[in-house]
Symmetry: C2
Subunit: 290 residues, 2 copies
Amino acid sequence: MIKELIDARYGLPLSGHIPTQDTTTGSEGHLSQPLADNETLRTILQHASARKFEPEAVPEPLMQQLFATAFSAPSKSDLQQVSVIRMIDPSQRNRIVRDNPKIAWTKHAPQFMIWCADNRRIRQICETKKYPFANDHLDSFMNSAVDTGIAMQTFIIAADSVGLRCCPISEVRNSIEYLSKELDLPPHVFPVAGLCVGWPLEEPSISMRLPLDITVHTNQYNDDSLSSKVKSYDLRRESTDQTPTEKQRQPERFGLAEVYGWSEDHARQYSEPLRADFGRYIRKQGFDLS
Amino acid sequence: MIKELIDARYGLPLSGHIPTQDTTTGSEGHLSQPLADNETLRTILQHASARKFEPEAVPEPLMQQLFATAFSAPSKSDLQQVSVIRMIDPSQRNRIVRDNPKIAWTKHAPQFMIWCADNRRIRQICETKKYPFANDHLDSFMNSAVDTGIAMQTFIIAADSVGLRCCPISEVRNSIEYLSKELDLPPHVFPVAGLCVGWPLEEPSISMRLPLDITVHTNQYNDDSLSSKVKSYDLRRESTDQTPTEKQRQPERFGLAEVYGWSEDHARQYSEPLRADFGRYIRKQGFDLS
């Protein structure tokens, strides 16, 4: 079963990722060995994001337990720079989607929350103790954001393990000033992602991943044959999950592609500026990014 | 068993986190309900970082499988902006710890790798297709870093589930220029964290977490009684895991505290600048952070 899950995730067997000439990692001949198999590995390999949920509520004790589990995640220097704001008030959720219509669908998720990076807590602690806070720079900003992603992903895996499904939503940052005001975020706290949680209405589809010979490097970074590897990946993805013609981005600008795929889709997506105002907001929240 | 794991992680029962006057989340009376229990939740709750490992190698097929599992993690806009560089060459590892002696202990870890944010891939794809890349700003930088944390944490949970232990190491960034050269990192790729992996020599101790009434907020951010909550947390932590006097930071500057704890430790730590040059490095790697 675990082998089938890996094959499905990549659209090719694990052996297909490893360049046959690569003997530096001692990988020859290992493919006959049995794979590890347990519930956690299967849960992770079957991860998928859901946007459609049953109307049933997620019991509050379960939510508390998932939070308690999520915050077991490692944290840079044990600083625990994460705060999550649960949006329980329906009128607040209505206002937020009115301001940011792209996420209107989130209104139907039983649970919705904003995962925030919290670099305020350590500053408050320094202030209380009258010690200077000497780390107002990009490294601090990044550490708090990365810790937030780490805790949120731990929540997602925990939720997946009990049959819930989630959807992380970076689009909450499209309207960050308004969101920030609604959540009453003080300086040095900022939204990293929204998260919907609920019981899935249908089993969501798994998104195929880049092969490991693109993402895993040995000793040095190497993307010499990126183009041809991405081309094969595009074809593998399209062969199991073809992009419908009407989903091609900006056909008026780029035309309709005969072969559309992951790379074409994201190249078109990133040819348009998105959230270019995020830096201004972060500086307004008090961060020095020098 | 799951209840004991949660209690140990927080030093207090789950009911102790929830303010009794808080009825907005409908949390009253739920404590009689049974907790969810499965292998994944237990794996996450028992997470701890290890710095001492058995000399036994981690089998290469298992490593490949853990990478294949880790990259199942969600990724912002499905962009998959993560690259991991495995350091297999012992002479390279020797050079890196020589340049950065604070991480000398990592030499004894069977596996060592650097998790890098990779904002280069999408740029390369845009270039190949001759589409402009219109997202050179802070949001892009952050998304690639957060995705890296998410994938690394997924690797850690997968590794924990088979009995391995890891240690994420942000200190690899203390000597980022040299590391970057050793890994031959091109523009728009940068190290987020190192990761040691191996079979633990001893069961590492679990680090107690801030209570959920500090980290989980309802509708609005609220840290009104942070000071008193942190004080109780400090005492809880110290009562099970007391900081030895010789581990107090900078006694020559701050004196020896009678009651030392998590907050005192990190306030002292952050009173000294750490990695103030990270922003300069990131700009040199080609990022515009405006």
